[in-house]
């Protein structure tokens, strides 16, 4: 436990003494903030217009028209930025030859992997918490439903944690950070959109929909907590971490 934390602490120190963490966090806030601003401005225009139409205004919902689109847009931004956060984790150890220290210190591969994973998850949490002030601001003015907002955040967190675990795996494959980032971005995007195949073929439709990120996140952002979705994210994360472990074990024979 202590060793994992020592690794996580080291990674966090590196994140915050190089531009990486600052750039990822601030670009996330810029993009998410921009999307939120456009969505909520559009919503306020709608509500002004709806003012003299009681039927229309009774159907206006902040949750429907603001939070759901905001969370799915923020999810795309995570897809874009988290590979940048994870790309250095193993690739840079290889390139700088620091892995020769890392793998000769009294550490298990599991401790190293979980430590690095935790460091990136901490940055993810900072990113999400930093959006809270504007996301919760409407609660001071009106009364949206709280539960779907919280599950939306849960969805973003689980989705981000899955991206991180896959990015860690991508980083363990190469000593080139760019390759790691591009690889994880492309594969994650493919996994997100793989349900498109169900439009053109009925072959394995259920399976394709299950492995795609898309549906699982949709449910959570609508406030529906289904154990199948939670299990999906947890298993996705575990598979990513396990693949990383397998890569480290195999590479031991080749260095």
């Amino acid at each position: 436990m202590r060793n994992m934390w020592a690794i996580a602490k080291k990674e966090l120190k590196i994140y915050f003494s190089s531009p990486t963490a600052y750039i990822v966090i601030s670009l996330f806030l810029l993009l998410a903030g921009f999307m939120y601003y456009v969505i909520i401005s559009n919503f306020s225009l709608l509500s002004i217009r709806a003012g003299n139409n009681p039927y229309f205004s009774s159907h206006l919902s902040l949750n429907q028209s603001v939070y759901i689109p905001f969370f799915s847009n923020a999810a795309v931004v995570l897809l874009l930025l988290l590979p940048i956060l994870t790309m250095r984790l193993f690739a840079e150890e290889k390139r700088q030859r620091t892995e020769e220290l890392l793998f000769t210190l009294p550490l298990t591969n599991t401790q190293i992997i979980i430590g690095k994973y935790l460091a990136a998850v901490v940055v993810l949490i900072i990113m999400l918490v930093a959006t809270a002030p504007y996301v919760f601001y409407p609660f001071f003015i009106t009364k949206p439903e709280l539960a779907p907002v919280l599950t939306g955040y849960l969805g973003l967190f689980l989705l981000g944690a899955s991206f991180i675990s896959f990015g860690l795996f991508a980083s363990s494959l190469t000593e080139n950070q760019i390759v790691a980032a591009v690889f994880s971005f492309a594969i994650l995007l493919l996994l997100w959109l793989i349900y498109w195949l169900t439009y053109v073929t009925s072959f394995m439709g259920g399976f394709l929909r299950f492995i795609s990120f898309f549906g699982h996140f949709d449910n959570l952002s609508k406030g529906v907590v289904d154990t199948a979705d939670l299990a999906y994210y947890v298993s996705f994360t575990l598979v990513g971490l396990f693949l990383t472990y397998a890569v480290l074990e195999v590479r031991r024979w080749w260095r």
Binding site: R2, N3, A6, I7, K9, K10, K13, I14, S17, S18, Q96, R97, T98, E99, E100, L101, L102, F103, T104, L105, P106, L107, T108, R252, W253, W254, R255
Partner: protein, 241 residues
């Protein structure tokens, strides 16, 4: 004590080290000699558990490095060929990280970090980022890291490379002072370093161990020849084998 039993490493079909057997008794300072590409670094990597041997075993203080990696690695301080440093970190945070992983916490950690900082002469740069250090200082941070936790076995791959003459003398004296209680293996190309620091030598060529033993004993075998003559003759003999 360090023991290598039939250590063998192939990279594909390329042989790096073959059937290397040696036993380095407690308190020995062993100079590990050989031409570039002879397998010195590969051997050291197998002894420290970084590389998995194709065949054979590396045993540190009675512990097989593959079967009990955590207990064995706790006993080793290792300086790789390229000092493994995180350029973004400050010298002190780097040393604190290594100390924590080696199981030092609280007051012990603080004392140990302070001790190696003064042993390696890093007081002036303790709060600087590693990225901004000169080559000599980087090498010294690498040495300091290996000394943390007072490991019983030190494996140093060319410890004095990149140092200026004064630094070389300091580091040699440091290594000498650590001998006696510790078992040290150091690789080098400087024969003078072996005479001034080591009590034993191992000469390796094309992956095979050619000479091994106390310096005087080896010298006797060659009719009291100088280390240079022994090295040249051993290497040319090894090349034919």
């Amino acid at each position: 004590m360090i023991r290598a039993e039939n250590l063998t490493k192939y990279y594909g079909t390329v042989k790096a080290v073959e059937n290397l057997n040696m036993e380095v008794p407690d308190g020995t300072i062993l100079g590990f000699l050989g031409p570039n590409g002879a397998g010195k670094t590969t051997t050291m990597r197998m002894l420290t558990g970084y590389t998995t041997p194709t065949k054979g075993r590396a045993i540190i203080e009675g512990l097989d490095i593959l079967k009990e990696p955590l207990r064995a690695k706790k006993l080793i301080g290792y300086l790789p060929e390229i000092p493994p440093l995180y350029p973004e970190l400050k010298v002190s945070s780097f040393l604190n990280f290594v100390a924590e992983v080696k199981g030092l916490h609280g007051k012990r950690k603080k004392q140990e970090v302070e001790r190696v900082i003064s042993q390696a002469g890093l007081e002036k740069v303790a709060l600087r980022r590693i990225r901004n250090l000169s080559k000599g200082y980087r090498q010294r941070v690498g040495i300091a890291q290996a000394l943390l936790g007072e490991p019983k076995v030190l494996i140093l791959d060319e410890p004095t490379i990149g140092l200026d003459p004064k630094e070389i003398v300091d580091i040699r004296n440091l290594i000498k002072s650590l001998g006696g209680e510790r078992t040290i293996v150091l690789s080098t190309h400087i024969l003078q370093e072996v005479t001034s620091v080591c009590d034993s030598i191992a000469i390796i060529n094309e992956g095979r161990l050619i000479e091994f033993g106390k310096i005087e004993e080896v010298q006797e075998k060659y009719g009291s020849a100088s280390l240079e003559e022994i090295y040249i003759s051993a290497i040319s003999r090894g090349g034919e084998a």
